[in-house]
């Protein structure tokens, strides 16, 4: 059965498509995302504190490699099959190399509702995956051009709102630990799924605005928006399996790989590759991939992880 938070997404999407006047105030959208990011970060930090950091290094490198690989695969598909301009192809590729916080949050809810264990370092990987794809996207679009203000790009990427909240949450969770954080649990942990429901309601409303622009850009984007995540999920699951993760962890990495950014990457591309058309990449990542992933994709990727483990797993 569908998780009820997905019903909120579908409700928002329908209300938007029916042109209802419903909308969440931007300040509430901000609050809700801030809280989700902090909570995800803290959850990860609490778990990370339990294990030696050095053991994570090879995993982190593998995940960064994945984040570099994904846009390099997406780019030629978009450029030569999709016949997009160089900058547009590069920008969309960066979106698909990076991750979506909302998808990750739904996956966290999915796993915990089913009591599935996954490796605790996932939130760390979210941060690791978010960054390299942006840099690769810029380099593909512009080469190692001197025109690019790399200091500014770095600042934009590392200190962007979502990365900094997640890192902040990670550190707070790491330093304080579960016991100390008990006093703020009622707000950040107990309300997590309710807040996720509000977030998905708003995401549904926003998505509905992007469904329209899909018509303009045609079939290729729709096909790409579904098949690229499937391909990425396979690579993510393979990486997870190679790193010796549990089925849950393997599925999580598949989900992360399959998800496409719609917050950090659009903001970075707008500043660094302004020639790219932002409607194009948002139509794909928000209009197709996000709904596909949260409604249908997550169980598929989980099945994928089970399958890989059954055949190749330890």
């Amino acid at each position: 059965m569908l998780d009820p938070v997905i019903l909120f997404f579908i409700f928002g999407l329908s209300a938007g498509l029916l042109r209802s006047e419903l909308r969440l105030p931007p300040a509430i959208y901000d609050l809700v995302s801030i809280m989700l990011l902090l909570t995800i970060g803290m959850k990860g930090g609490i778990e990370l504190a339990k294990q030696p950091f050095l053991e994570l290094l090879p995993q982190m490198l593998a995940v960064i490699g994945l984040g570099i690989l994904l846009p390099l695969i997406a780019f030629p598909l978009l450029r030569y099959l999709g016949r997009f301009s160089r900058v547009d192809a590069a920008s969309i590729a960066a979106h698909y190399g990076s991750v979506s916080m909302g998808t990750f949050a739904v996956a966290v809810a999915y796993m915990s509702a089913r009591g599935i264990y996954y490796e605790e370092q996932m939130p760390l990987f979210v941060v690791m995956l978010e960054i390299p794809a942006i840099l690769v996207g810029i380099v593909i679009a512009k080469g190692f051009s001197k025109q690019t203000n790399w200091a500014q790009v770095g600042h934009e990427v590392l200190l962007g709102k979502s990365i900094i909240l997640m890192i902040g949450g990670l550190l707070i969770g790491w330093i304080a630990g579960a016991e100390q954080l008990a006093s703020i649990k009622p707000l950040f942990f107990d309300l997590f799924k309710g807040i996720l429901a509000l977030f998905l309601l708003e995401m549904g409303l926003i998505t509905s605005k992007h469904v329209g622009s899909l018509k303009k850009y045609g079939l290729f984007l729709i096909v790409f928006g579904i098949s690229m995540p499937m391909l990425s999920a396979v690579l993510g699951a393979a990486t997870g399996c190679l790193l010796g993760f549990s089925v849950g962890g393997t599925a999580m990495l598949a989900i992360l790989a399959a998800s496409a950014s719609y917050i950090a990457v659009p903001a970075a591309m707008r500043i660094s590759v302004p020639e790219a058309n932002p409607t194009l990449s948002l139509a794909a990542s928000l209009g197709i991939t996000f709904p596909f992933n949260v409604v249908i994709g997550i169980p598929i990727y989980y099945a994928m992880a089970e399958y890989i483990h059954a055949f190749f797993g330890a």
């Binding site: 959208y29 901000d30 926003i206 605005k209 707008r270 409607t279």
Partner: protein, 100 residues
């Protein structure tokens, strides 16, 4: 024309440009600026401010005609091709002309 007459340059553009534009405007010699949040529609479609990526800002700069002209042509060259942006100018009478 009296000393009291200055140029009011109004820019409407994507909210994502705020930090960059503010630096440009100061570098080109303006003594100040005023920003309000906005939404709207133009050649680049509807920008309804439903979420971060999609809002406009409206920047006003009062300065002498020379600086206003420089800002306008800098913005035109740098941002017009790739960003939703309009700008327009008019004369306004100010009280303390030495401030602008």
């Amino acid at each position: 024309m009296s000393d009291n007459i200055k140029k009011l340059l109004t820019i409407v553009t994507e909210a994502a440009l705020e930090n960059i534009l503010v630096k440009d405007i100061e570098r080109l010699g303006a003594q100040g600026y005023t920003i309000t949040d906005a939404r709207g529609k133009g050649g680049r479609g509807v920008r309804n401010a439903a979420w971060d990526a999609n809002g406009n800002i409206r920047i006003e700069v009062i300065s002498d005609a020379a600086i206003a002209g420089q800002i306008a042509s800098h913005l035109k060259e740098t941002y017009y091709a790739n960003y939703a942006m309009i700008l327009f100018m008019s004369d306004v009478e100010v009280i303390r002309p030495e401030k602008f």
